[in-house]
Homo-oligomer: 138 residues x 4
């Protein structure tokens, strides 16, 4: 992926709810989307501990991006279901990394899995989500 | 549940990431937690459409609250897994309601289900999450 | 639903893997499918305890049936994802009941939830599954 | 893992509901459990197509085995939740392979992921399950 496409996606990530999370895109290719979020106090559930909802929102954004890179022209996407297992806590000040790869890229649905890790590489969460492919109106 | 307890939980909901969501608690009883979030632009994924991550974070907060109301003294809780199905979009300006009820309240885990509805009562999402009960250090 | 339709679905339930489970259909309407399985030794994981896989297969069959009742003529369905929470064990000799109701019945997907209970009414498992609606070839 | 342990687990797999599936263990180590099931007609949902419930039961058995290999002496395990995404159909006569690896092995829970593939290597399903670790009575 060239720098221009990465910048377009970063602009998307800067907006609205995704923007509040402070997602920094590192890589965005058809086979892999990688990004980081630095854990601020206002992303925490109790002081010092990243909110599980912030982790799920981070991953959801990456899965939607991964899908959008693979869509045919004019098509859109929406998340129809998402499943997360949590293993360890993200900590304030830490750069939490999400690496999102496809399990399935079909015509009707795509399924992406995001591996969320802490700065030391420990596994914080695994998120698997299904994206519906929305055809452009005929 | 008396007003004092509701105020304590509202204070909890006002903090940090939950605070960013703008959760307004309506009812918080051992059998049921009900709350609302008004969809602001900065909770959206594209303009006008509530971010799925904001819905998941909203529900996660309610499930943790429901569990905390049922914990024995000194115990804590953490979400170990969460599953969401999405059915319809929340819209900007709309008061989205979450009603969270227990499927299971055991010694080691509790499982809560949050029904997320729009202002007109249509079902937006269903979230099921497992909370681990963390015993106080012996 | 008339008796003839129930008998057709029961014939479906008697075949192949569903037949091995011994599913007995009690009700099959567009809004609700109810059935029972008596726990035999060969449906157990350890002697006396129903295998979680048998519970998931039971529910999967009901969700597919519920969808098929609601399909337009010529359409088919396949399960694209399924999530189960387990709460208590089914016991040998017990008639385990599944009650399957829709959360969503759309043109592209349907989502069904099956409440699995023991003979005394205790909740054994909750299964939520997404069925893809497969249009007939054009 | 020595042959004796593999034979013990195979004997476990031959019993009851797992026995009906015809699971053949190939490898059973603390980091990985691999097994095969040949798709018979009575494991199908419609003729020729493996029942999703059979896939979930197969994976559930492998995740329980992987956990049991890692348990401390005297401890037991039970599945508390399981999530499956389905991608393609297993076909009659085909040897379907499950490769089950841990995402998390903790004191209270273990989480295992089973990659289910067809004989040609295509991905049929991905199953993620949480096992509760049950301490021996004190």
């Amino acid at each position: 992926m060239n720098d221009e496409r990465l910048q377009q996606l970063q602009a998307y990530a800067n907006r609205l709810f995704a923007g509040m999370l402070g997602i920094r895109l590192i890589e965005a290719a058809p086979e892999r989307v990688v990004a980081e979020v630095v854990v601020r106090d206002d992303l925490c559930t109790v002081p010092g501990i990243m909110h599980g909802g912030a982790i799920m929102a981070f991953a959801d954004t990456l899965g939607a991006m991964g899908t959008s890179i693979n869509l045919p022209p004019g098509a859109g996407t929406t998340t129809i279901e998402s499943k997360t297992n949590f293993f360890a806590a993200g900590k304030t000040g830490e750069a939490v990394r999400g690496e999102c790869t496809p399990l399935h890229r079909g015509k009707r649905t795509m399924v992406w899995q995001t591996r969320v890790t802490g700065q030391d590489g420990r596994l914080l969460a695994m998120v698997t989500q299904t994206q519906m492919v929305l055809e452009p109106p005929g």
